[in-house]
């Protein structure tokens, strides 16, 4: 019994540690129906899903997101989605070779005259990045940097569930509406009215000029979403009576970490969860045509991409679990033997 007490002390310390991960103002990520195959001490990745996920990555995500820590050869290594026991060396795997060859990359070694040529990628090359550098990525995405996806499942609370929840968690179109901004409500008009009210004529002239200059550039309509009308089986949004004004080039997602209070028209004590991100909803039914004939629903594609990224974040996870099982069995037998040795050695000593 004494012994149990110190084990429980250890578990207590772990519980304290777990509270360090209290998330911000976003919704808690949830699993798809039926959970993840890779969960638990003996859970294995659903490799068919990881394969489909790679297709979704190539055809959808890869146009903006890099995966710099992965190489094509990783796809064919043990534990990878296209591992083939016939080709223990992934660099010989014809499928992996063909995936690499489909991408043109800028060679990292200079040619005979010192220039850098484009060439088809080899299995040893890292995944092709969509942009040459972060500045180019930002410039092409309205100032937002699409994060590298190599370890994204380890870099977000919730892991694969976060990816799945985020990708499939955008509000549906019917809660959005576009509204003309009435002229008297534009910020410029307001400041003009205010200035007049205060009777500060000198300032008045200056501000009107500025307002006229700014007027054509300013938005004439705004996108508004009614949060209480979001239909979700995972969370009750009906308590958020009010409207969220979606900034241009930004998209609301309740699973995104962030703060929407500045855009919220409603009770500031009940600000909806989530945040805005620069990535518009990417998936619609049939966005990819799966090679294995699976129906490409948003749900299915979200599960598949999350499974693929789960694998990519830690390609050695199946090896980790199988080694763990052997280690655990070894340690348990060792502990039992030591327990009996202990009792035998101490049998004549009162303690």
């Amino acid at each position: 019994m004494k012994f149990l007490r110190f084990i429980s002390a250890g578990i207590g310390a772990a519980a304290i540690a777990a509270t360090a991960h209290a998330a911000g103002g976003s919704l808690h990520a949830h699993e798809p129906e039926g959970g993840w195959a890779f969960e638990g001490p003996v859970g294995e990745l659903d490799m068919a899903s990881v394969q489909r996920g790679y297709q979704v990555y190539r055809e959808v995500c890869a146009s903006c997101h890099s995966m710099r820590l992965l190489s094509y050869r990783n796809l064919g290594e043990p534990g990878g989605p296209f591992y083939d026991p016939e080709y223990p060396n992934a660099n010989n795997n014809p499928l992996v070779k063909s995936f690499a060859a489909q991408d043109e990359i800028l060679s990292t070694e200079p040619n005979d005259v010192g220039d850098y040529d484009y060439r088809p990628a080899r299995t040893s090359d890292p995944f092709k990045s969509p942009y040459p550098n972060d500045a180019a990525a930002r410039a092409a995405n309205g100032g937002a940097l699409p994060p590298d996806l190599s370890v994204i499942t380890k870099a977000r609370h919730g892991g694969a569930s976060y990816i799945y929840s985020l990708i499939s968690g955008y509000p549906s179109e019917d809660v959005f509406s576009t509204r003309e901004i009435p002229a008297e409500e534009t910020p410029a008009a307001e400041s003009e009215a205010e200035a007049e009210g205060e009777g500060a004529e000198a300032v008045d002239g200056g501000e009107t000029e500025a307002a006229e200059a700014a007027a054509p550039a300013g938005p004439t309509s705004e996108t508004v979403l009614k949060v209480s009308e979001i239909d979700s089986s995972h969370y009750d949004f009906s308590k958020y009576k009010g409207e969220l004004v979606q900034p241009v080039g930004q998209y609301y997602n309740p699973y995104m970490a962030g703060d929407v209070s500045a855009q919220w028209r409603g009770d500031p004590r009940k600000t909806p969860p989530g945040g805005f991100l620069a990535m518009p909803p990417q998936l619609s039914d049939g966005r990819v045509s799966y090679l294995d004939g699976t129906e490409a629903t948003v749900e299915q594609m979200s599960i598949d991409i999350a499974n693929f990224l789960q694998w990519a974040g830690e390609p050695k996870q199946s090896q980790r679990k199988s080694t763990g099982l052997a280690v655990m069995i070894y340690l348990l037998i060792f502990a039992v033997l030591l327990w009996f040795s202990f009792h035998r050695i101490w049998r004549n000593v009162k303690h």
Binding site: K2, P41, R269, V327, V349, K350
Partner: protein, 484 residues
Amino acid sequence: MSGHASTYEPKTGFTKWLDSRLPVVRLAYDSFVDFPTPKNLNYWYTFGGILAVCLMTQILTGVVLAMHYTATVDGAFASVERIMRDVPYGWLIRYIHSNGASMFFLAVYIHMFRGLYYGSYKAPREILWILGVVIFLLMMGTAFLGYVLPWGQMSYHGANVITGLIGAVPVVGDGIKAWLMGGPSIGNQTLQRFFSLHYLLPFMIAGVVILHIWALHVPGNNNPTGVEARKDKEGLKQDTVPFHPYYTVKDGFAIVVFLIIFAAFVFYMPNVLGHADNYIEADPLVTPAHIVPEWYLLPFYAILRAITFNIGPIDAKLLGVIAMFGAIAVLFFLPWLDTSKVKSMRYRPVARQFFFGFVVASLLLGWCGAANPDDPIIPMGSDKLVVSYTDANGNEATQTYEEYAAASTFRDQKMSEGVEATIAVEKAAAFRFVHLAQLLTLYYFAYFLVILPLLGLRENPKDEPASIHKAVLGHDRAAPAPAE
């Protein structure tokens, strides 16, 4: 080093030859084979051995990691991932090392609480205790330096917070800070010196551990009764057993059970004790929403943040730093702060209650360290809405509402009159994490500075047993054990 008469007798020609030149086998024999150890040590006393295993594990895995790690701001993050992906069993080595740090601290905290409970810091073991606190300090330094090496978001911003603390020290703070960082800000030079120091400190720990074991072997182990083992031949025989095989097997069993818990983390939840943000490469321009240290530093972080007020000329920030370092510094003086002659809390019923209070306070401080200090624990009343506007006379005015509908109607009415009006939230009073942390910090210091010094003079301890031998027999009589 063994502190008792040597019983080693070299048998072979070679060992006789060696023993007269370098009696290293004799030292090992006297220290770890024949060493007389109280026969009543319980499982709480196995953590010394567990910690030795932790230190060796960290050094071995760390040396291998250093072979593959790149200490540059551009290469560090990717090199850690490369270890996990391309080095054979690199994932295992790295996960053992990163979880090993947590396991090391878990064990050291249990080891320290054990010392506090059984009075292991009291004469004649003051030096033993102080060396232990030195090891604890070195461990915290090593852990902090090591956490920076993967160059994730928490690495970078955590390092910023910690070096910022040193900058709060008056006069010399900025100089020390720049010296630590190797420049005006954290950069490549910081990472390289942190790597160098992270490699150095574990060997300093190992050195102090040798002194720690030496200081243990001079007076011998304390034990759960706190009564010293008798020194006369008959008494020593009755009170102690040789370290081997009695404690090698008992410690061995505890070590393997500890390794099972360790392995459960390494193989099945390798990242649960870390922070997800540290898998995002460090970006000085993006600050994480909540910067929190690793779990084992959270109680001290809570003490740091609990000080939100100035005292005289000392501002809150410096005071927080003083409190945080003071929380460790006070441990150095513990042997003289506790005035009771009775070591074990078994015989100090009143002190025992305060001790358990101290354990709970330490755990709750960890909880406060992880939480946002401004979050309410017990809300008192509900938040109100305040509409601010300019009244007819041009003065700032406010109107307070409970309901949003009423507040927004009023705001819209003012707006339609051409008056700017805004709604803000007035937070209701609440008992917040920062308040809890302040109470717990007060208890933490009171335990050492008030409770232990006064209690030793005033309490009525229970009678201690005459000897370990008597205690062991009495223990058996009180709860008859099945025939062994």
